[in-house]
């Protein structure tokens, strides 16, 4: 996999132009809702895969990367929307850049374009699951077992395996049908020769006895052994082999057909009735019928998929994979329809085999009728066979079966009018023929026997080939299913263990005995979790939403570990632990750090406290985090940065957009106040939820810094350090002056001066406010390095300083005495 070094994003989603240095480290982007955080995730995901998950899948009909990937003002200029990612490829120990434009998402520009680099990017593009959003994690937890199975199978790309299994099953079913047909043909051919030879079983001794009696009569050598190439009429003169019928066999064939015709109405009657019953069931349940019709339609469509365009409705999908997943999800929904479909096709195959048996009776009589001048009967039999052939072809699909439903209900054999009469007439005609001489009888007996033996041999050969084909297909299907089940059991077992371990780590304070149990079965994956040793229950039964969120992320991490192993080096977590409480978030950070030390996580959150916790836990640092304080349609995300904020405010004011400038200033002050309160150890009124308002935070920061400057001046005086005393006093005075201009201390008493009113100010009213706060905040910064001041150590501070040490105030007074 990869690690991200940097990203350059232009005109993607809500972003106009943005550069981020990730330095291959875990990185947090935080900011209020709608500030553009997820746009960064979208852009990175797009850069790596060519996809944007939130524009695909359920509930995204009508959305596409092509139309909605670019910034809303650049939808007609997809070339302008692009992402360039600089990444490190650990397995190759190389760095490379990939640039992907919305206009050509499948053709990224990769530099250097070494074959191994291109191949690796191609593999990464095949894994959109590197991005996880909160919407995604609910797919694992709060869903039915069948849906969970689909989701997890999709993330692990098991749907491809399912497709292969489906293809093996289809091949097996087709070859089983071929085998059944071949078996029916063997049976027909065997009946035909047995009838001719007038023997009970097709055994060599009995066959040779019947044949040798005729050969002896003709003075031909007896056949001692029946070999695969033995010709029963061997030695007959060419003229004697002319196709003259054998009268006795012709009469036997006619009688066989007459006898068989008495049972025509019983041929595969039970199966025909079963088909009619199942079709009635479908008729009574239109939803089931629709599901089944869709099933056949979708199966056909899936087979024809060759690219992102749906062969069924011409809809263009982001890629072929998404289209396949969509069609497979539809198929999975119709399990009952699948069972009905299988029953119908199985019964259809039996009726088809019965039709082949019928052909075995009709074919010799059709030939006989032709040679004996019974043209009407010959024509009738030819038409009947063609009709049965067409009927047989319809037995292989549900739609076909629906078409022959009425025929199956009455009598599918559909004996044509005039059949019995024609048969009687032909029988009488043959009977009226003079008996054949013993020689002719023996000759025609042998030629007919050879002909029918040859047919039988061919049928047996075909049946053996068909049986071998079916055996191979069955073995392949059974083997594949066996291996699949073994591997899935191993996989689920490992995922189950990892999932439980991770969840316990996050919730060790109250659920250190947590266990989970997967129950895989065909097409579904049950998940039950232990609830305080009271037993196993579905995740949503007793666990809170926060716990369920935690489960979702832990399951995702367990799946990623199984999917990528030690190559799990990169993941995008978009606002995924919002319901997890602050206490457990520390544990979550520790989980990421300890269990995935080589994985770079890019995490977004709208919760500033959570971002601070990530810093405190050492998951990220100030350098590996970014705060968006707001967003505008013209600028995209506004990055919280003291160096740029005043320029952004100035630009907004220049355009007369006071509300934008006011929001930017307020967000910046919120950020700085929180940061400085933490840096100085300020003492605002404690809030358990950590949601301090600017109105209470900034005054407490001001007071704290005043106190610190006072403490520094006193300490300097105690040491006799006049220069330090003067510097501290001057900064304190500057702070008081700026504070006065900014009116911060008046917020609590004068609502008109409150920051909530800024957005309603006119440009001329707001400009001095912005200037006052700029000057105020400069009192918290080092003029040399522009860094924010802080105290050290955090508890019982001894120094107030900046990062470059240009400003440094001792806070400890000289001990007395």
């Amino acid at each position: 996999m990869i690690r991200l070094e940097s990203a350059h994003i232009e005109e993607i989603r809500g972003i106009r132009k943005l550069d981020i240095d990730f330095s291959q480290k875990s990185f947090a982007i935080f900011g209020p809702n709608g500030s553009g955080k997820s746009g960064v995730i979208d852009a990175i995901e797009f850069g790596l895969t060519g996809l944007i998950a939130r524009l695909t899948g359920k509930g995204t009909k009508g959305l596409s990367v092509a139309d909605h990937g670019p910034h809303v003002d650049k939808t007609k200029f997809p070339d302008a929307a692009f992402v360039t990612l600089r990444v490190y490829l650990p397995t190759l120990d190389k760095s490379a850049t990939i640039t992907r434009t919305v206009s050509s998402p499948k053709k990224p520009k990769i530099e250097p374009a070494d074959a191994d680099i291109v191949q690796l990017f191609s593999e990464v593009a095949d894994h959109p699951e590197i991005a996880l959003s909160r919407r995604d994690i609910l797919r694992f937890i709060l869903v039915e077992p069948t849906a969970r199975s689909q989701e997890i199978q999709a993330i692990l790309k098991l749907n491809e395996i399912g497709e292969t299994r489906g293809a093996l099953n289809t091949a097996q079913n087709r070859l089983q049908t071929v085998q059944r047909t071949a078996e029916a043909q063997v049976q027909t051919a065997r009946s035909s020769i047995l009838r001719h030879l007038q023997i009970e079983a097709l055994k060599a001794a009995e066959l040779l006895e019947a044949v040798n009696t005729r050969r002896k009569l003709l003075g031909l050598p007896e056949i001692a052994e029946l070999k695969p190439d033995t010709k029963l009429d061997d030695g007959l003169a060419a003229g004697a082999k002319q196709s003259e019928m054998n009268k006795q066999t012709a009469l036997k064939d006619l009688k066989a057909l007459v006898d068989a015709s008495a049972g025509f109405s019983e041929l595969a009657k039970a199966e025909a009735a079963s088909i009619v019953g199942n079709l009635s069931k479908l008729e009574a349940d239109p939803a089931l019928l629709a599901a089944l019709q869709r099933r056949e339609f979708i199966e056909k469509g899936l087979d024809l998929v060759d690219g992102p365009d749906c062969p069924l409705c011409d809809t263009t999908w982001p890629d072929e994979q998404h289209l396949r997943e969509h069609l497979q999800a539809k198929l999975a929904k119709s399990e009952e329809a699948r069972k009905v479909q299988q029953a119908l096709l199985k019964d259809g195959a039996t009726v088809s085999a019965a039709a082949i048996q019928l052909f075995g009776f009709l074919t010799p009589i059709e030939q006989l009728a032709k040679t004996q001048g019974a043209a009407d009967l010959a024509q009738l039999l030819t038409a009947w066979r063609a009709d049965l052939d067409a009927f047989k072809a319809k037995l292989t699909t549900v739609a076909g079966l629906v078409g022959v439903n009425v025929r199956l209900e009455i009598s599918w054999v559909a004996v044509p009018q005039g059949f019995s009469e024609g048969l009687t007439s032909l029988t009488e005609k043959i009977n009226a023929l003079p008996d054949q001489t013993a020689t002719v009888n023996a000759q025609t007996f042998l030629t007919t026997a050879q002909l029918r033996l040859s047919d039988c041999r061919t049928a047996v050969k075909n049946q053996k080939a068909a049986a071998a084909g079916f055996a191979a297909a069955k073995l392949a299907y059974d083997t594949y299913c066996g291996v699949l089940e073994e591997e899935l059991n191993i996989l689920y077992d490992e995922v189950q263990k990892d999932f439980s371990t991770y969840y316990r780590e996050v919730n060790q304070d109250d659920e250190d005995a947590f266990t989970a149990k997967f129950t895989p079965s065909e097409g579904s994956l049950g998940l039950d979790v232990n609830f305080y040793d009271r037993g196993l229950f579905p995740p949503a039964a007793y666990h809170s939403e926060g716990h369920q969120d935690g489960m979702g992320v832990c399951l995702y991490l367990a799946l990623m570990k199984r999917l990528f192993g030690d190559k799990f080096t990169f993941a995008l977590l978009d606002d995924v632990v919002m319901s997890v409480d602050s206490g457990h978030r520390y544990q979550f950070c520790r989980l990421l750090k300890t269990q995935f030390p080589d994985t770079q996580f890019v995490i977004t959150t709208h919760d500033r406290l959570w971002a601070e916790q990530m810093k405190s836990a050492g998951l990220i640092t100030s350098k590996t985090s970014l705060c968006f304080h707001s967003w505008t349609i013209d600028t995209g995300p506004l990055v919280e940065s003291s160096a740029e904020i005043w320029g952004e405010i100035g630009t907004a004011l220049a355009k007369g957009k006071v509300e934008v400038a006011a929001a930017a200033l307020r967000h910046h002050l919120e950020y700085v106040s929180r940061h400085l309160a933490d840096q100085f150890g300020a003492a605002p009124r404690f809030r358990a939820d950590g949601n301090y308002e600017l109105g209470e935070l900034l005054p407490s920061v001001l007071k704290r810094l005043k106190d610190l400057y006072g403490q520094a001046a006193n300490a300097a005086q105690s040491w006799g350090n006049d220069a330090a005393k003067t510097a501290a006093t001057e900064r304190k005075a500057a702070l008081s002056a700026s504070n006065g201009a900014a009116n911060v201390e008046q917020w609590a008493v004068n609502k008109a001066l409150h920051y909530n009113e800024w957005a309603n100010f006119g440009k001329k009213d707001f400009e001095p406010v912005a200037v006052a706060f700029k000057e105020l905040l400069e009192c918290f910064q080092c003029p040399a390095c522009q860094g924010w001041l802080y105290v050290t150590p955090r508890v019982a501070p001894e120094t107030l300083r900046c990062a470059c040490n240009a400003l440094q105030f001792n806070l400890n007074a000289k001990p007395k005495g």
């Binding site: 692990l156 289809t170 070859l175 192993g565």
Partner: protein
């Protein structure tokens, strides 16, 4: 990167060889199908399973 599907395909091919139902020619065809990295189609599988021994033309 090693994937579950590849792992399953490899084990499957080994077991098919052990099963001694397919000859070498058919096993190679099957191996090629599973190694091509494309969607495996039922039609292709039917051809493999019904190919005569040694790949001779019937």
């Amino acid at each position: 990167m090693p994937t579950l599907q590849r792992l399953i395909a490899e084990k499957f091919l080994v077991r098919m060889k052990e099963g001694q139902v397919l000859d070498e020619q058919a096993l190679k065809q099957l191996s090629d199908l599973f190694g091509a990295g494309k969607k495996i189609k039922a039609d292709d599988l039917v051809k493999v399973f019904t190919s005569p021994p040694g790949g001779e033309v019937q």
